[in-house]
């Protein structure tokens, strides 16, 4: 089972190492990890997708909380949140297939952000299943390269993840 955890951390060097090191030495599995600065310049937010049962999730959250540079750890439930990931996919095309690829891109409300003679780059944003679906469809044309950001997530409605609450 997969869980999404939002981790507010001090925006300082070495913090990512502390978090990543914790996962490896405690034997937790990271599915994806995305990190960037928040509305406060001194605070970064990591979105970590971790696989395991509820006990694993509980230990992950408690162990993360023990790190001095971790300010707040919140579980973001799948059903009540917005989950997004961005992927860039370089697809091989020729004059015969270009139109078909563009049609698929259209259906997925993705974008073509670079066009070459033999390839183009598709930018797609969405939840994991959407990205997996377009990947599946584009595979027949030949995916030359693909990069994904890892998931970011935010609770719907008024609920916020803030640093002051810890």
């Amino acid at each position: 089972m997969k869980h999404t955890v939002a981790v507010l951390v001090e925006n300082k060097p070495g913090v990512l190492t502390r978090v990543a090191g914790l996962f490896s030495r405690r034997g937790f599995n990271i599915e994806s990890l995305a990190v960037g600065v928040t509305e406060n310049a001194d605070t970064s937010r990591m979105t970590i997708v971790v696989s395991g049962d509820d006990n694993v999730l509980e230990q992950v959250m408690k162990q993360l909380n023990k790190l001095i540079d971790v300010i707040r750890v919140t579980d973001i439930p799948q059903e009540d949140s917005v989950n997004r990931e961005l992927a860039l996919i370089k697809v091989g095309v020729d004059s015969d297939t270009r139109a078909e690829v563009m049609q698929i891109v259209d259906i997925f409300r993705a974008k073509i952000v670079d066009v070459g003679v033999k390839s183009l780059i598709v930018e797609v944003t969405g939840d994991e299943s959407k990205i997996n679906a377009i990947k599946q469809l584009l595979r027949q044309f030949g995916i030359k390269e693909m990069v994904r950001t890892g998931k970011v997530a935010m609770n719907r409605g008024a609920k916020v993840v803030q640093s002051e609450k810890k």
Binding site: L22, R25, Q59, I68, K166
Partner: protein, 559 residues
Amino acid sequence: MTKPKMSGAKAIIESLHMENVKVIFGYPGGQVLPLYDELYDADIRHILVRHEQAAVHAADGYARATGNVGVCLATSGPGATNLVTGIATAYMDSVPIIAITGQVPRPLIGNDAFQEANITGITLPITKHNYLVQDTKDIPRIFKEAFYIAGTGRPGPVLIDVPKDTQIETIEFEYPQEVKLRGYKPTYTGNEQQVKKAAALILKSEKPIFYVGGGIIISNATEELRALAECIMAPVTTTLMGMGAFPSAHPLSVGMLGMHGTRYGNYAVQESDLIIAIGVRFDDRVTGKISAFAPNAKIIHIDIDPAEIGKNVRVDVPIVGDAKNILKSMLKFVKQEQMKTEAWNTKIAAWKKEFPLTYKKDNFLRPQFVVEQISEICPDAIIVTEVGQNQMWAAQFFNYKNPRTFISSGGLGTMGYGFPAAMGVKVGKPESTVIDIAGDGSFQMNSQELATVVQEDIPVIVAILNNGFLGMVRQWQELFFNRRFSSTCIEGSVDFVKLAEAYGALGLRARKKSDVKDVIKEAVKSERPTVIDFVVEREENVSPMVPAGAAINEILDLE
């Protein structure tokens, strides 16, 4: 008021003064020269060890015995890496220490410079937190935070890595009044609803038992524990780290539990209907086969570290906070009249009678006898141990009365810990008799510190239970590897009396039971660093024993 200007090195000394540090254990080197130059004039005692590992163990022993933060100091690279075992030891047993290491100058970091090691990276998983000084003006703040982090909440080691050029650079010194750490706010007061829930479970229980550990000692909660235990008339079992948290001779004490615990202690845990676990972490050496651990018991778990709760066992009532506060508030909600533990205590008394902790009483000099004699002659001594059989016998056969009188590497099980730790204990508690109950194997891992205790006049007593074996490993080989004593015989490795004398310490030896009393008395009377070589029965086993992987009531007496 203008802030005084000073070098980073001087700022470190001033910070240590602000934290009331009176003693440092350390070893100099190239990248800490500016700091050692400042120490030369400072009003801080520096104890020069002979190996950095001893510095960190000594700081650890000092901290465990006094409850204050211990400080050690080493140079970069090999100096810093020699601290690693000691830092891991302190981390596993939640001991507050500050390790200060020199580092190559900032412009050289990352270049594989001479004596460079990434010590903050290396110690990441074994420190509560660590710092690399990147800006000299951060030194006061970092020291303030480091001492605060080390000594509060669940204590632990904090390392501060100080590049040489930051020791030289001048800053304006101002020590912060308070720390501002958004991500560190330990919980001290237990949730009252949870305390009430726990009290209700206690009042309903008929076979309650306290299972207490190092957390009681760290939080200075021994009196509250005793008051609560006597109020509800429940037996108390302690972990190795909890020795001294409850008087060994108290009628409610059932001794240690786990692999080498008492039979009655293990039976009581297994048959209990309620475990009141305080400052413990349900370690595998304690629980044995976890799925068979105390099958009928509900569990109340009190700990300051929320991550310990629910880590190894399911808990019915968790309470996060400081043991002392929680026990105090729990006392308000329990009443002796409502307890029905008489039958339970009768049963335990019968077990105690039937399965006492004992050993063969014959004419041979057995290690247990030596520990009993030490207990009799030096009842108020602080006992430090090495690791292995000596450690278990020290736990089993000394009569502990007070907290901070049993000092041992529990979690990491670090051989070579005892002697340097004893040195730190004696420095922190100079008025106490300090005895390292040692094995001939463990002692040799740090015996070079005889030079330190002689030079610095630190009169500790090392009582070697000398069986010419790495005894605990030998015991396992006897029991589980068909007596194939692979690489465990170290007989005749050194004459310990002559070794002591070579360093200028007093060396004594006892071969017979009748010699034991005299040599112990002579050691105490001498007020000198002393090594006593007790030549004991070679193949004595630690008994009883729970085989690894068995339930703790499947405990065996060994011959």
